[in-house]
Symmetry: C2
Subunit: 218 residues, 2 copies
């Protein structure tokens, strides 16, 4: 499965939980498409590729769909993450409400000055020196990196040596994936500069909207 | 230019500023490739596509390269952004040091409870009601959206009606680009779930590393 498909499946899965909590039992491809910003045809294509059944009149059974998606997405065991770097961004992420929609929780934060972190943080915060043993004991596989840029390289090394296999990197330093550790870089500054480029330089004509996005335009 | 190329050009541009501040006058494609995590051949390909000259022995002249990139990237006038939603994430972004590397600044933050925002914020924070006039007066085109999910849809409408043309969306709600307003959604929760999927379900074999990334592996 390519990354775009996985991301769509994860988004469908989140919507199903929300619909279920509203008392819904069935859902239509139109609703799912609207919710995640793609054409209904793509929703149906995704589900038929994965042999998930539904019909035009009745829509999809939410429980069945959720169960099948969980199985495809491998959501079987507890998913815990750690955050390395509990400054402004790291602390904000530890308290990020959007995380509660996902099936994972922040097990702990780590910082060079753990004692200085504000007590409002909902997870325990430890000194960085405790990270390797914590990761091993709790079988942590995924980490968020939110240290200052000057500590990025050392922190990256520490995470890899501790056995972390997936990193969401918020530092401005571009970190490289390897066979042992997958990194996804989110460079917020570059994202904003890219928006400026698209908006200012290209005007709005040259937008690389996909057909699905254009289809959805209101 | 496709988005990947623009992102690479923006990253090259940032590195050049840093190298210049270290006293460098010339740079080689290997250095640039290492810094942004791509093969030197791709750096050379990018620059030759854009008719930016260099030679194997002497490398590229940093001043010339920076000037040409600025021209290509349309970095000619002041770039100011606003942040709507000054909770944990919004406040952290307002203080984000990575922004200072880019050629833009946070002109103001807006919040429903502007008076409750901590005074350590480096930009002014106003009530949301002031947003439309501020955007018009200061010619703001790009905004960061960091409100709670329940306010996402209303805030999105407000930004579009105020004339904002580019939005970096940190709320969990997927917002849709239109011809008038380009949205880039960063759903942190989904990013983390995707990492779990890649790491746990696929093991590390199925990573969609590009040749460039593999080439760079240390």
């Amino acid at each position: 499965m390519n990354k775009e498909l996985v991301i769509r499946l994860l988004k469908y899965r989140r919507i199903l939980t929300q619909l279920k909590s509203l008392g819904f039992d069935r859902v239509f491809s139109n609703n799912l498409g609207d919710a995640i910003g793609v054409a209904p045809a793509l929703v149906r294509k995704d589900f038929s590729l994965l042999l998930l059944g539904g019909n035009k009149r009745g829509g999809y059974n939410i429980d069945y769909l959720a169960q099948q998606l969980d199985s495809i997405l491998g959501k079987t065991h507890e998913q815990k993450i750690i955050i390395l770097g509990m400054g402004k961004i790291g602390s904000a992420l530890a308290q990020y409400r959007g995380f509660r929609q996902g099936d994972f929780e922040v097990a702990a934060g780590f910082d060079l000055n753990a004692k200085e972190i504000t007590p409002e943080c909902p997870c325990p915060v430890y000194e960085v020196s405790r990270l390797p043993s914590f990761v091993e004991e709790k079988h942590i596989e995924v980490a968020v990196l939110a240290v200052p840029e000057e500590n990025s390289a050392d922190s990256f090394k520490l995470l890899k040596e501790a056995g972390i296999k997936g990193i969401l990197n918020f530092t401005p330093l571009e970190l490289k994936s390897s066979a042992q550790c997958l990194v996804h870089n989110i460079n917020i500054g570059v994202e904003i500069e890219n928006l400026f480029f698209q908006v200012v330089k290209n005007g709005m004509a040259g937008l690389d909207l996909t057909e699905d996005e254009l289809y959805q335009e209101d």
